[in-house]
């Protein structure tokens, strides 16, 4: 028996009403590997990671990325890279990024010379006076 639907498209494709027959089981990888997608809003800005698409090649991944992440709004450029080619630090190692007080020499706020300049200028004026 075929499914009789309100939807003429479903009637046209003649679907078997027997739902007990699960022959559609997908195999592992049938939905393909994933690619990470990077999106650039406008020239001069950074590409930003926006998500993932499943694809069989980088060309197909770009086509899907356009559909998925550039349907509306601004886009000037997309990058894709295989998820398996990504390297990342581990969140549990995040302490390697901790800035210790000893690293203040990297911080612009650690360098303040205004007071010294003012004192020196004042001293010169006194000498001249």
């Amino acid at each position: 028996m075929k499914i009789k639907s309100l939807d003429p498209r479903i009637n046209r494709i003649q679907i078997d009403a027997d739902t007990e027959n699960p022959q559609a089981m997908l195999h592992p990888l049938e939905n393909w590997p994933t690619y990470e997608v990077f999106h650039q809003k406008k020239r001069g800005t950074h590409h930003e990671h926006v998500g993932v698409v499943h694809a069989t090649s980088s060309e197909l991944a770009l086509a899907f990325a356009k559909e998925q992440f550039a349907r509306r709004g601004e886009t000037v450029n997309l990058w894709v890279v295989k998820s398996e080619d990504m390297m990342a630090t581990d969140y549990s190692d995040a302490d390697v990024f901790a800035t210790t007080p000893e690293k203040s020499f990297r911080d612009p706020a650690a360098y303040s010379v205004k007071e010294k300049i003012d004192q020196w200028v004042a001293k010169q004026k006194n000498h001249a006076g």
Binding site: D7, P22, G51, H54, R71, Y91
Partner: protein, 327 residues
């Protein structure tokens, strides 16, 4: 844009046997408003419940496209056809965003689709009802999407990074769905007598499924407290239902339309709405597979998988391997 009314499963959560030190760090991170990322340590119940929720949400996007897709070929006018196609395309895009977010928790997309087809995973009950007329499409676009937005905005403040990121994009796109649905409703409501009648009939059909949308009262669930502490569940079903009613009922009444519930009334002192208790037996019957369209929805999905398989397999290459995505 179709999350909401997450169905069941909480009773299978284990009383947790997690490492107490790791658990304390995890809970402190969430309490501090920090997000959890895919490779972080997380309690088994957290992972389990998130996979279930995100997967259910993704399936709802896929199945939710079916009642609206029905009307693409018969949309009244070119502009409405374009808008409906764009909306349906968005819903499929949302499904993909959500499947990817769930994949980061360790369940493959193939396994999720299999569980949809074999009935193990659920999707939002509201899509087991038919869209008889164009007015049904208008009501779905405005009120079903409106209900889903209530749910998704709440969940977008949750604790799991990939889900939050997906929901932010989804909510942004849903605002177009809501506006175009409202536009369609207002067009019919301000039109001819026949158009108003068609709209009123659609509202009558959808009101009960909409009251079911947020799921049964969750005050009874023993896990609600834990899931809320972990920011997996962000609002109670009852609170979301109240929020939906208070946002939309006045707008429906303003158009001179009625709702099939005589008890619907706002208490001016508390601001809370009273409403007739929806028929929860019907709700559970539909979840069990006995709704008007459960069988058709799954048969259509299964057929799409079966008939599209040759394309997917033709493009497979022997050296491909699967890596859990980063997103």
């Amino acid at each position: 844009m179709y999350g909401g009314g997450y169905i069941g499963g909480e009773e299978t959560l284990q009383a947790n046997q997690d490492d107490p030190i790791a658990l304390a760090e995890f809970e402190a991170r969430i309490a501090a408003g920090d997000k959890i990322e895919p490779k972080d340590w997380m309690p088994a119940d957290y992972r389990k419940q998130l996979v279930r929720m995100i997967e259910q949400h993704a399936h709802s996007e896929v199945i939710g496209a079916l009642p609206e897709g029905t009307w693409i070929t018969r949309a009244p006018g070119f502009r409405r056809k374009l808008a409906l196609m764009a909306k349906v395309q968005d819903e499929m895009g949302h499904a993909q965003l959500l499947y990817s977010a769930a994949e980061t928790l360790g369940k493959s997309r193939e396994a999720m689709i299999n569980d949809l087809i074999n009935g193990k995973s659920k999707y939002s009950n509201v899509f087991n009802y038919p869209a008889f007329t164009w007015a049904d499409v208008a009501v779905i676009g405005w009120l079903v999407d409106g209900a889903a937005i209530v749910n998704q905005v709440a969940n977008s403040k949750g604790s799991y990074g990939p889900y939050v990121r997906a929901l932010e994009r989804i909510c942004y796109e849903e605002s177009f769905h809501l506006k175009q649905g409202h536009d369609n409703v207002v067009f019919l409501a301000t039109g001819t007598e026949m158009q108003r009648t068609m709209l009123q009939e659609a509202l009558n059909r959808w009101w009960q499924p909409l009251m079911h949308f947020f799921g049964p009262s969750d005050t009874m669930s023993v896990h609600t407290e834990k899931l809320m502490r972990w920011k997996v569940k962000m609002a109670s079903n009852d609170d979301m239902r109240q929020q939906f009613i208070s946002m939309y009922v006045p707008k429906i009444w303003e158009l001179g339309l009625t709702l099939p519930d005589n008890e619907l009334k706002r208490n001016p002192l508390t601001g809370k709405w009273a409403f007739a208790d929806p028929d929860w037996n019907l709700f559970f019957e539909v979840i069990k597979g006995n709704g008007p369209l459960n069988k058709e929805r799954l048969a259509v999905r299964r057929t799409a998988e079966e008939r599209g398989r040759w394309v997917r397999e033709a493009l497979l290459k022997a050296d491909m391997k699967y890596t859990v995505p980063f997103a």
